[in-house]
């Protein structure tokens, strides 16, 4: 059996200092060879591992046969954003985890092949899809243009609805736009995928914050017959330790928004500044933390340290991004918990930390980290980025009567339909589950679209 293909990447020395995409994509020969490794299993375990049930053996067979464009079209029947998912999905815990090849050797590189097919289709001149929204179709409002909202809108338009997406920022895409950096997900690709959704007849209204410009009930009086809420989990959490408001301390959201949405890495050509010192410390070990650490390097930091209170096994980031970060020279201080941000004249100078050791398992089954008394030490840093998670933004939900929220402020919605406690109001994605994944948000958008179409037909 041939070896699993490895992704061609930009050389480490160059990529540490630029914002160009790190992973360069497979060549046609590499893709075909990898696709031929697939056993075309009858019971398709990989497809069960995919939250939106892409026909994986089907599209892989088309790639092996040298027709990536047909492969991309097949994927798009289930997944409107394959160029994005191929790049950012945690395949190692989803489709590839279920792949039979993984039992003896390495699983098929499904994500690389998905990306390859989508990139080929994008490069080929593509006649736009026929507009599916019917001029007399029911009007549906979608709040938020992240993966949940975009997917829901695309499926609703395909089902004949006239869809308007309301987005509070000046550019669509949610986390795909402001969170995930250019070097991992080029914005040209996000633009292209959004254009595809628009070509289905979806209208995107930017600079429109629901809860402020219009309330939820007002949307119904404007003529919308159903509403999908996909506002994400955008409210940054801080550590709640002394010194967190010193100059030089950023939330990951601010750090990444300045860089990605506002293009601060092109300051002063672009008007938004960002400040990165010689040494950076990033608290947390999820995708957000990896993105912040690698961004700090690219903005000129000489030394960047990830500070995480649990051990390597618990780091929630995609395996590939941890590997990329390590290759680029990001240091890892594991089993380390920050207790205080140190400063001088109002500016950050470092993070005071405690060493941790693993104690008894907690409710999640993971061994709980406990501090080692007297183990204080300092990670010196002029820039500190807090990447310990996000919560639900209250702008939309504040003041809406009757919308049931859980004790953490997330919207309570049916797992199969996205139905909320309010009639004709659906929700999905991070605003329901808390920070999760792009594909999970898309899956929720899809299910809600199906339920909305059913409801509107009644």
């Amino acid at each position: 059996m041939p070896e699993r293909v490895s992704m061609p990447k930009q050389p480490v020395e160059a990529r540490r200092r630029n914002f160009d995409e790190v992973a360069q994509g497979l060549t046609a020969a590499q893709a075909a060879a990898e696709a031929r490794r697939c056993l075309q299993c009858k019971n398709r375990p990989c497809t069960t591992g995919c939250p939106v049930e892409v026909d994986i053996p089907g599209f892989v067979r088309l790639v092996a046969a040298g027709d990536p464009i047909a492969a991309a079209r097949l994927i798009k029947e289930k997944n409107a954003l394959p160029a994005i998912c191929g790049r950012v999905c945690p395949q190692e815990t989803q489709c590839e985890a279920a792949c039979v090849l993984g039992k003896k050797g390495k699983p098929l590189a499904i994500g690389y092949l998905e990306r390859y097919a989508a990139d080929c289709e994008r490069a080929a001149t593509r006649e736009g899809p026929a507009v599916s929204a019917r001029p007399d179709g029911p009007q549906v409002a979608v709040i938020g243009s992240g993966p949940a909202g975009l997917t829901c809108a695309a499926d609703l338009a395909r089902g004949g609805c006239r869809v308007t997406i309301f987005e509070i920022l000046h550019a669509p895409g949610g986390v795909l736009r402001y969170g995930i950096p250019e070097f991992r997900l080029p914005k040209a690709i996000v633009d292209e995928e959004i254009r595809y959704v628009e070509s289905l007849g979806v209208e995107i209204k930017l600079n429109a914050g629901i809860g402020q410009l219009y309330s939820l009930p007002e949307l119904f009086s404007l003529g919308y017959e159903a509403v999908f809420i996909g506002t994400g989990a955008g409210l940054p959490h801080f550590l709640g330790i002394p010194g967190e408001n010193l100059n030089g301390v950023y939330s990951a959201n601010e750090f990444l928004t300045r860089t990605n949405l506002m293009k601060a890495y092109l300051f002063p050509e672009y008007g938004t500044p960002i400040k990165v010192g010689r040494r950076g410390a990033v608290v947390g070990a999820g995708n957000v933390a990896m993105d912040a650490a690698r961004t700090a390097l690219r903005l000129g930091a000489e030394e960047v340290t990830i500070v995480y209170r649990r051990s390597r096994a618990e780091m929630p980031a995609r395996a590939e991004e941890i590997e990329n970060a390590e290759e680029e020279g990001v240091r890892f201080r594991l089993l380390t918990n920050p207790v205080r941000v140190l400063g001088e004249d109002g500016w950050v100078t470092g993070l005071e930390c405690l060493r941790m050791e693993l104690g008894a398992p907690d409710a999640s089954g993971r061994r709980r980290p406990v501090p080692v008394p007297g183990s204080e030490f300092v990670v010196p840093a002029e820039t500190v980025v807090v990447a310990i998670g996000q919560g639900p933004n209250p702008v939309l939900t504040r003041g809406v009567q009757g919308l049931a929220l859980n004790d953490r402020g997330y919207i309570i919605a049916d797992a199969e339909t996205g139905a909320t406690s309010l009639p004709r109001v659906y929700a999905g994605g991070d605003i329901v589950t808390g920070s999760a994944t792009v594909i999970a948000a898309m899956g929720a958008g899809k299910k809600a679209a199906r339920a909305i179409l059913r409801e509107l037909k009644r």
């Binding site: 000046h170 939330s251 959201n253 300051f267 938004t272």
Partner: protein
């Protein structure tokens, strides 16, 4: 894209813009603001909604040039457009009938205090106004404020107009003269708001200040605008921008405002070299 329908110069480097934004105008309340991004490469900056004409579908913005982004906005004329305008943002001011209130505006702060004075008047409060500027030619919106207040005191730092001194000098007099002041609202430079809060503290008068930390999104998703009020971290864009002046950590606010001082200088210098041909 929102169109500028009317433009005036109020003072050197201070511009008054009437902007077509019907949806924002329909919802705007005193105390709220918008985020403005002039063009594709510009920053997003917060500006107070000084006036909202629901019938005409326009809002008024008053902008003082202090750096790169405001300089570009001050240069706009009627017929120009603004690429992005998001609002209304922030919590509206809570204005109820309470009796006598004082509205203090310093420098550019006169613009955001104006809609508050007007609303206080509408609900039947007795409004005492104090406005001030460094010098006569920098004083703005005096007529509008006079019309909105029962009584208006005007100060200039150099004595070129009105009484010589700071707005806080005039406030000290009012506090001594007037018996039942229900609240004082102060908007202006941070040191001024801090001084107002110190003046009213011994009287125990409710004092509201409008904070102006550096913002990015204006919608609660970045935390750039965080301020400490009564020992707790608040996001000025969604929890404010108005807070209890007696509980605000002004020292931290001033420090955080200076975060990008060096970059701000570079931005202005780069603009001077014409390295950014925005309209080309």
């Amino acid at each position: 894209m929102p169109l500028i329908v009317e433009q005036r110069i109020l003072a050197p480097r201070v511009s008054w813009l009437r902007v077509a934004a019907p949806e924002v105008a329909a919802k705007a309340e005193p105390g709220q603001f918008v985020m403005v991004r002039l063009d594709e490469k510009a920053e997003r900056i917060p500006l107070t909604i000084v006036e909202a004409d629901r019938e005409e579908g326009t809002i008024v913005l008053v902008i003082q040039e202090v750096g790169r982004s405001t300089a570009d906005l001050v240069r706009l004329r009627a017929g120009d457009t603004i690429r992005d305008l998001l609002g209304p943002l922030g919590r509206p001011t809570e204005i109820e009938r309470v009796g006598t209130v004082v509205c203090v505006g310093g420098g550019i702060g006169v613009a955001p205090i104006l809609p508050q004075a007007r609303r206080h008047r509408e609900v039947g409060n007795r409004v005492l106004g104090i406005i001030g500027a460094q010098t006569k030619e920098l004083l703005i919106l005096e007529e509008e404020m006079r019309a909105g207040c029962e009584r208006l005191l005007v100060t200039t730092d150099d004595g070129s107009y009105g009484r010589k001194g700071l707005v806080t000098d005039a406030l000290a007099e009012l506090l001594a003269e007037e018996q039942a002041i229900a609240s004082v609202t102060a908007i202006g430079p941070v040191p001024m708001m801090q001084a107002v809060a110190e003046l009213t503290r011994p009287y125990g008068i409710k004092t509201i200040v409008s904070l102006n930390p550096i913002m990015v999104d204006g919608s609660g998703m970045c935390g750039s605008c965080r301020v400490t009020v009564a020992g707790a971290t608040k996001f000025a864009c969604v929890d404010g921008p108005e807070f209890d002046g007696h509980a605000v950590d002004f020292v931290e606010l001033r420090r955080r405002q200076s975060f990008y001082r060096e970059e701000e200088r570079r931005a202005v210098a780069a603009a001077g070299e014409g390295c950014r041909c925005r309209n080309a």
